[in-house]
């Protein structure tokens, strides 16, 4: 067993080549490893939240064409493997835009578009799970549809959706490993680099990064479970 290989590169797994130079008082190198994976997942879920909110609300709309756009977007993205989407943005953005998009940005866009579709379904289910009376009563007090949604329905629905968002964040954290395929230097990529360089400790290296991912995701799952129990008590239910 060559655990020393893992130990020597542990810093690199955690934060890439980023180091703090105490002489010049500045950061040097590139952020990578687990830190970059978490940054990627956090930015991804942030973007996907707004996109998913829009998609979910559009899917609930009564206007046919608004609903159709959302349905097409959600069905297409949910039927496509994430890896395929990453390739779409990485290989075809240059053709569409005329310039190459850096790997980090192009995977981030792919993550946001991919997760947005799933968040859209979460939002739709969350709003649909509220009693219809909430919307009707809010409209009855003179609020417009948009106001009723923003001030009455969404605050309740979103709170009930928090556990689902955490689960989506967990699954996005795992999915950030795919960014390594087009060369973003996140945790999986640092591992394959170290593996290619050392060649003698593949078992130890991949077990270590699996455990690193596991720790992050497992803590988040545990939080989500607690939230689910906690929020269930306050849930307004339909029917």
């Amino acid at each position: 067993m060559r655990w020393d290989v893992v130990w020597n590169n542990f810093d690199y797994f955690l934060r890439g080549s980023l180091t703090f130079n105490s002489q010049t008082m500045s950061f040097e190198g590139q952020l990578g490893g687990l830190a970059l994976a978490v940054v990627l997942a956090a930015l991804g879920i942030l973007g996907a939240f707004w996109l998913g909110l829009a998609a979910g609300l559009m899917r609930l709309s009564r206007r046919f064409w608004v609903k159709a756009i959302a349905v097409i977007y959600i069905e297409i993205v949910r039927g496509t493997p994430l890896l395929m989407l990453i390739f779409w943005f990485y290989f075809l953005a240059p053709i569409l835009l005329g310039t190459a998009v850096p790997e980090f940005q192009s995977t981030l866009i792919a993550f946001i578009i991919f997760t947005g579709a799933y968040v859209g379904e979460i939002v739709r289910a969350g709003v649909a799970a509220l009693p219809r009376g909430q919307m009707e009563a809010a409209r009855g007090t003179g609020l417009s549809h948009f106001q009723a949604m923003r001030l009455v329905v969404l605050p309740q629905a979103l709170r009930n959706m928090i556990p689902s968002f955490v689960n989506q964040f967990v699954s996005l954290t795992k999915d950030t490993s795919l960014a390594s395929i087009i060369g973003v230097n996140e945790l999986t990529n640092t591992a394959t680099q170290v593996n290619n360089r050392t060649m003698n400790a593949p078992f130890e290296i991949f077990i270590t990064i699996a455990v690193l991912y596991f720790l992050v995701c497992w803590v988040l799952t545990a939080i989500s479970r607690r939230l689910e129990k906690h929020l269930a008590r306050y849930q307004a239910r339909g029917r």
Binding site: E75, I76, R78, G79, T80, P81, L82, L83, M84, F87, W88, F91, L92, I95, L96, G98, V170, K174, D175, T176, S177, L178, S180, I181, T188, A191, T192, N195, P202, F203, E204, I205, F206, I207, I209, A210, V211, Y213, F214, C217, W218, T221
Partner: protein
């Protein structure tokens, strides 16, 4: 944007054949993994239901660990990392086999089994507890009771979520391209690098994946409409 579409690349000729081959390989690796994952998932779910502490702990650790680590890392682990633990002779034999395909199947099976186990467990919980007690009282053993009474009912309830797990597996199978299994995604990528016809190749591959997914979700809807309503406890 200046781009001349040339759909003939993916509709006829050698590259078309590549896509067809990739499609069949995707179906093949998915089908094998689905069957194995169902078997392993059922085993893990039932182990969790036993009263033996070791079995329960094993099952819990299995599902938690494999659900919370990325599939890609698992694929790399089985492909690069696992075989170093085996004896030299076994390794030599393994290299003569289709080792990429085998590690892909193992990774997809184990990863999906962890998710399937949770679904099956939910299905078992949906069956009233006295069903087990009653069947034990008629003289069936624990295994017989599960085999003849509990599992057949549980499976009927969880068919929709199980099917969507199968769909996830088919989409996840695109990751095995990273270790050189020539599936649909691998072929699309290959055509892109050979002909620079990325648009056509990726569109064709994406369309195939979406068709599979639409067929599957249609099946779930039909099942929900016609069969799920009749199941009552």
């Amino acid at each position: 944007m200046k781009y001349n579409f040339d759909w003939s690349v993916v509709l006829t000729g050698e590259y078309h054949q590549w896509l067809v081959d990739g499609f069949w390989l995707t179906l093949k690796i998915s089908a094998i993994s689905i069957v194995l994952a169902m078997a392993l998932g059922t085993l893990v779910a039932v182990l969790r239901m036993t009263k033996v502490k070791a079995c329960v702990w094993f099952s819990l650790a299995f599902t938690e660990f494999f659900r919370n680590t990325p599939l890609l890392v698992q694929i790399y682990f089985w492909y690069f990392g696992s075989f170093v633990l085996l004896p030299e002779a076994v390794n030599k034999w393994l290299y003569k086999q289709d080792f990429e395909f085998a590690s892909g199947v193992i990774a997809l099976t184990v990863y999906t089994a962890a998710f399937i186990a949770e679904e099956i467990r939910a299905g078992i919980f949906a069956i009233p507890k006295n069903q087990l007690e009653a069947s034990r009282a008629t003289g069936l053993s624990f295994i017989q009771a599960y085999r003849y009474v509990i599992l057949p009912q549980a499976f009927r309830i969880i068919i929709p979520p199980l099917i969507s797990q199968f769909l996830n597996l088919i989409k996840n199978s695109s990751l095995v391209m990273t270790i050189g299994v020539m599936d649909l995604t691998y072929m699309a990528r290959q055509i892109e690098s050979h002909t620079f016809r990325g648009f056509e190749a990726f569109t064709a591959a994406t369309a195939i994946y979406i068709c599979i997914s639409l067929v599957v979700s249609l099946t779930i809807n039909v099942y929900n409409k016609h069969f799920l309503r009749q199941i009552k406890y």
